[in-house]
């Protein structure tokens, strides 16, 4: 785990190399991002997750569609907006985590093409469409990818143009197409007052 003091003090160019569990607020059973592999803060992100047996419990051994959407949202709007807000507020990821909570605002559309079972590694590949007033909208896709592929190396020379065109290996299997995935960072103090 990344040292908290390091996260508190260090500024980063992107989320690649940062452990999602160190910056996202979800507990272990609800955290659906394992690694960030590519990230250009104003353009988009690519992150991976591999569902566990616990993730598919009571659901026919299949990773639920809503969990795919959640995984995409965590990888895209939550992670990317968090990063950009740190830059804007000139604060650390830890400071930001202490001030805001991510809220799911809306979903434009989702089309599922394939399914995922435990051990199936997938990537969320997201393009940022809008970011203002701590609200972000992202479009993108989920692909099942080979388990043994070094994704960070694979995406090392990836470009935004390749992302927009989904220029990927034919061995990657399209699982879902998502659009209008929207979330906003809410001040914790506002939520506390409402509760």
């Amino acid at each position: 785990m990344t040292d908290e003091k390091t996260l508190f003090n260090q500024s980063f160019d992107s989320l690649v190399g940062i452990r999602p569990c160190d910056i996202l607020q979800y507990g272990p059973s609800k955290l659906y991002v394992d690694d960030y592999h590519w990230h250009i803060p104003t353009k988009g992100i690519i992150a991976s997750y591999t569902p566990t047996h616990e993730n598919v419990n009571d659901h026919f051994g299949i990773f639920r569609g809503v969990d795919q959407i959640e995984a995409f949202a965590q990888a895209s709007i939550v992670s990317c907006a968090g990063f950009l807000e740190c830059v804007k507020q000139n604060c650390s990821l830890i400071e930001l985590r202490n001030k805001f909570l991510p809220a799911f605002i809306s979903i434009g559309s989702v089309n599922f093409q394939h399914f995922l079972t435990p051990g199936d590694r997938f990537i969320s590949i997201a393009e940022i469409k809008f970011y203002k007033f701590r609200q972000m909208v992202a479009d993108g896709r989920i692909y099942k990818v080979p388990r043994d592929l070094d994704l960070t190396a694979y995406f090392q020379n990836f470009t935004p143009e390749m992302l927009f065109a989904f220029e990927l290996e034919p061995t990657f299997t399209l699982v879902a197409e998502l659009s209008g995935i929207t979330g906003r960072a809410l001040k914790k103090e506002i939520l506390t007052k409402k509760i």
Binding site: I105, T182, I190
Partner: protein
């Protein structure tokens, strides 16, 4: 810029929002509530604010939007204040 001019410009913005019924904009006043009267989703409120920035050449802070009420008068006040 007068409040009337802001209202006119705001209605022009609202006519581009597909989730708002155009007919409801014929009777809009400053007392109209975006949520209860126009059924505007919260996600659209952010888009409306962003479009208002461009149209009226103003800049809102995140805190302005955090504290924004749901009535038309609230956003008119905000634009006038800027």
């Amino acid at each position: 810029m007068t409040r009337e001019e802001v209202m006119t410009g705001l209605v022009e913005i609202l006519r581009t929002v597909r989730t708002i019924e155009p007919a409801k904009l014929d009777t809009i006043t400053e007392e109209t509530d975006f949520i209860t009267d126009l059924n505007t989703p919260s996600t659209e409120m952010i888009n409306i604010a962003a479009k208002a920035e461009q149209k009226f050449n103003v800049e809102f802070e995140d805190e302005d939007i955090d504290g924004l009420g749901s009535k038309v008068r609230d956003i008119v006040d905000l634009i006038m204040k800027k």
